[in-house]
Amino acid sequence: MREPARRSLHPFVAAVAAYGLPTRSSAIRKPLDDIAWIDVLRVFRRERLAALLDRSIAEGAVPATDRQREEAENEAAQGARGVLRVEEILLDVGRALEAERVEFRVLKGAAVARLDEADPSLRQYADVDLLVRGSEIGRAVSILGSLGFHRDLPERRVGYDHRFGKEVSLRSTMGLEIDLHRTLVLGYFGLTLPLVELWRRSTTFELAGTSLAALDHESRFVHACHTAMLGDPRPRLLALRDLAVIAHAHTLDEDRVRELAPTGRGAAVVQAAVRTAVDVLDLAMHDTLPLPAVSGTPVTERLALRAYRAQGGSNTLELLSGALAVRGRDRITYLGSLVRPSPEYRSARRRAGRPREWSTALEELAAAAAGRARRGDHDG
């Protein structure tokens, strides 16, 4: 499994991303020059780490000039205003789903901020992510429709969302986004995730006097590992920090982690995520991060891993990897949904300016293969 090398990360960025966590890094003594500052500020904005930057500077964890200090604070304030709007939506949505007795769990940013970070203001996020049971997805979509949130694309094929889908994305006219997840990731790892286990335990947090349900600590940890290693072409610092912060804030039950990410169905993902977080953020957390023993990763899991973008695959390959997780007629139905989605779905994609799935996938595959060949040349 390909993991990013730490050498590509600026030590200043690593120090801020690991703020409040035990690290092995030595202190940074001098503020960045103007050019380096512009570069790292762009990274913090993109990675939604501006609040950590502001706090790290204010607490003296990293040095900064007066102008840099002010710019960091302005970035953090802008991020905070966005978070407040999202939190307001979360409260409205939670109330509406609860009134209709649709059970849900708050995922990612909002949950990690309130349950794992030392101060919720440190974790910024831009959308609402909720886990809903597959059988309730349709009802949840129509409830949120009454709040002004509508699907960005129609269902790929009738029945796809509740049987195979990762999530349904909804948007408001104000540009706010809600992701209703049936499972945590796309493709093989989403389809093999033990959803019954995921729902079996939960915890709650308070937001403006309202109690909201979230996944238990171990499930949030496994989710952060999946997001880090399977979600983006390169592991996002935010996801790596999330998994470290969760493990730092709680004593995780390793048996429970194994139940949620068993061998062949995510154990290798958790192991890679932990190693990557330790390496990239230079963490001194070997005793607190659960590292599942992975000996002899099954062929199916190894094959599936290659399909994910972080491993050089593509979105379409990620979807195709799901075929390894379903059996018999389900596999035919699943592949049919991928290859021949409904005409409504295809025309909505065209109207939205989305790329054609299969021709784009072929281009991505060719690019990935060329990249692999180049790496092979260099390695050789």
């Binding site: 609040a51 953090a76 304030a77 205003r81 203001s121 937001l207 403006a208």
Partner: protein
């Protein structure tokens, strides 16, 4: 005694507290001493205690601090983010 209203959403940066009230759906930003006072109101706080703390921190005369605090707390109550408690 004063305390934050439970239904107020808030986040803080190194310099300010940014609040959003559910009732008015408006954003209120506090900086400087006002941001410190907001932090202190995460549990019920008596105005005398707040005055004493601020006098020590800022080495300022009590009557001035009290006048500032009374005005600030009135404005926070009017904005719907703080409430008086018995």
């Amino acid at each position: 005694m004063y305390v934050r209203r439970a239904d107020v959403l808030s986040h803080r940066t190194s310099r300010r507290a940014i609040l959003r009230t559910r009732t008015t759906q408006g954003t209120l930003e506090l900086d400087g001493i006002a941001a410190l006072v907001w932090e202190a109101l995460d549990g019920p706080a008596a105005i005398d205690d707040l005055v004493n703390d601020l006098c020590v921190v800022f080495d300022a005369p009590g009557p001035d601090v009290r006048a500032y605090l009374e005005d600030l707390l009135d404005r926070l109550v009017d904005a719907g983010v703080v409430r008086p408690v018995a």
